[in-house]
């Protein structure tokens, strides 16, 4: 029987993978994907909590829909920024982005 705990463990794993990815990836696209994984870990949490603890209301599921929408909006902006910096720098590796420092 799959219960709340399974979902929570899954989401915690995804969250950890996401954090690990953000901290270790050097490729911007990789970091973006890791951030998306963090968002999805949140969604699993919200929906699982809603289903197992706080039904029959749908607040958590509604929240998850907002998260999905805004994550999509953020990904659009993020990818276009990646495109902009790729045109200037011809690379997507973060260690090359070092003209601003001090």
């Amino acid at each position: 029987m799959i219960g709340l705990h399974h979902y929570l463990v899954l989401s915690a794993l995804l969250f950890t993978i996401g954090i690990y990815g953000v901290l270790t990836r050097r490729n911007i696209i990789g970091i973006l994907m890791s951030i998306e994984i963090i968002f999805n870990a949140t969604n699993i949490n919200l929906v699982a909590f809603n289903h197992f603890l706080h039904g029959p209301g749908l607040w958590g599921q509604g929240f998850a829909i907002f998260v999905i929408t805004l994550a999509a909006a953020e990904a659009v902006v993020g990818l276009s920024l990646v495109l902009a910096i790729y045109r200037n720098l011809k690379t997507v590796y973060v260690e090359k982005m070092n003209i601003l420092k001090g």
Binding site: I38, F49, H54, G60, V77, G78, L89, I99
Partner: protein, 479 residues
């Protein structure tokens, strides 16, 4: 339903105006810069009137509180957008071919701040924060051809999105525990449980605080700030500090005063530590900065730390202090950035040496800049002093004496780098290799907006009675 919508007229109107401007940008081939500017300023003015005519003491959809407290910050947000719009008028890069997109993004970001200022639910907090920052990502990278702008935008984006992710994960745990994301429900839940032992609740709260910390650029989450401030177009940099202070601080204030009492949870020491760390790091690193925008960025980090004292104290005086402080901080940082914009446009340099000998080239401009610097340093009779004083007083009221002591020491350190700028302006000779600032300035909007900011800082600093009585009414959020 309809009553709730009526409370959201400013947001609805401004979103409509932003969409209209985007439509103009997309479908009208001619360059309509002047019309775009008039439309943007006009709609912001009208939104200001709408905000002032809102009935207070209401809730929209149960999620957004419309009280005097939020009206103050709504007004501040719209005012900041208006002033930023005015000083970017002559910027051929920002207000060039894509003027419509630029103005509409500024307005959309302001709408996000309007939502943030009345957010009473973690859902609205999240949506407001995203609505504020997503346009800012684009605005930071608005000069697509410039590597500096793109780099600052990508750094801002990565940090912003990552912190949003962390905050959301914290929100999901709080939702799981409390069954709701509404501040009052969470508060009721914390009253019924022994929350200081509940690891899951503390983890959720910690992640939300980390998210807010990134957005407010509190140490140790501040590293993105100087890079983003330096690389972004300067009017946008001025807008960043406005949005941070006006948008994020409100929601943090509401969260602290309505939901979690740091003292009761035993996390007050952590918050005090964050505040001290932020002030000290910001001030110490600012000492050796040579780039004006970077210097102002570190000074803004230090100011964020000082503002945070008002939050840590968590009493009504602290709330009032934060309100005054954010008004003052916005006006003075706006003024300082406006002068930097003007100087760097003429001298083609953003370094400290561009300020050298300013008093010999244009005395009025240097005195204006001195006004803003004195206010930033927190020297009476300017409004910056009053804000700082009230924040410190609130900490004394909360018996946080040594926090005030360290904050005072920090203010002394801060005076050094502000006066370094003043010294360059008044006691050094101009760099002959750079073109001189003309005696008479062309730009009317620059003169109007900076004089307005300086006069407000001075007059409210000398005669604070009226504004203090307003603030006192608004300091108490809805029960």
């Amino acid at each position: 339903m309809l009553d709730s919508l009526k409370l959201l007229y400013p947001e609805i109107f401004l979103s409509g105006a932003a969409m209209l401007l985007l439509g103009v940008e997309a479908f009208v081939k001619k360059n309509l810069r002047r019309w775009v500017l008039i439309l943007g300023c006009g709609s912001l003015f009208f939104a200001m009137v709408l905000v002032l005519s809102l009935p207070t003491g209401n809730r929209a959809f149960g999620l957004l509180a419309i009280d005097n407290f939020s009206l103050f910050f709504k007004f501040l947000a719209i005012l900041s957008c208006l002033l930023i719009l005015c000083i970017s008028e002559n910027d051929t890069e920002l207000m060039g071919d894509h003027a419509g997109a630029y103005v509409s993004l500024l307005i959309l970001s302001t709408v996000g701040m309007l939502f943030l200022s009345s957010a009473e639910d973690l859902l609205m907090l999240f949506i407001g924060m995203e609505l504020t920052t997503i346009p800012l990502f684009i605005l930071a990278g608005f000069l697509r051809k410039e590597l500096r702008s793109s780099e600052s935008a990508i750094k801002f984006f990565l940090v912003g999105a990552f912190s949003t992710g962390l905050m959301l994960y914290g929100i999901s745990y709080i939702y799981g525990l409390c069954g709701s994301t509404h501040f009052r429900v969470i508060f009721a839940w914390t009253q019924s449980q022994n929350v200081s032992n509940n690891a899951l609740f503390l983890l959720g709260l910690f992640l939300i605080l980390v998210g807010i910390g990134f957005k407010l650029s509190l140490a140790p989450f501040h590293q993105w700030t100087p890079d983003t401030y330096e690389g972004a177009p300067t009017p946008i940099t001025a807008f960043f500090s406005a949005s941070r202070e006006a948008g994020v601080i409100v929601v943090a204030l509401r969260l602290f005063s309505q939901t979690v009492d740091p003292g009761a949870l035993g996390i007050q020491h952590t918050l005090i530590l964050i505040s001290i760390l932020t002030m000290t790091l910001g001030n110490l690193i600012a000492l050796k900065q040579e780039n004006l925008k970077r210097l102002l960025a570190y000074s803004s980090i230090a100011h964020a730390g000082t503002l945070f004292i008002g939050l840590v104290a968590n009493n009504s005086l602290g709330r009032e202090g934060v309100m005054i402080y954010s008004l003052a901080y916005f006006l003075m940082s706006f003024g300082a950035f406006a002068v930097v914009i003007l100087i760097s446009r003429i001298k083609k340099s953003e370094s400290l040496s561009a300020l050298r000998g300013l008093s010999k080239e244009n005395l009025g401009l240097s005195i204006l800049m001195l006004f803003f610097l004195l206010s930033l340093a927190g020297i009476p009779p300017f409004l910056g002093f009053l804000g700082k004083w009230m924040v410190f007083a609130s900490a004394i009221q909360a018996k946080l004496y040594w926090l005030v002591g360290i904050a005072l020491l920090n203010s002394v350190v801060a005076v050094y780098y502000y006066f370094r700028m003043a010294h360059a302006m008044f006691f050094q000779d101009p760099d002959p290799s750079q073109s001189a600032i003309p005696e008479k300035l062309e730009s009317l909007s620059f003169k109007l907006t900076t004089l307005f900011a300086a006069l407000v800082l001075l007059i409210l600093g000398i005669f604070p009675g009226q504004i203090l009585s307003w603030i006192r009414i608004s300091g108490a959020p809805l029960p």
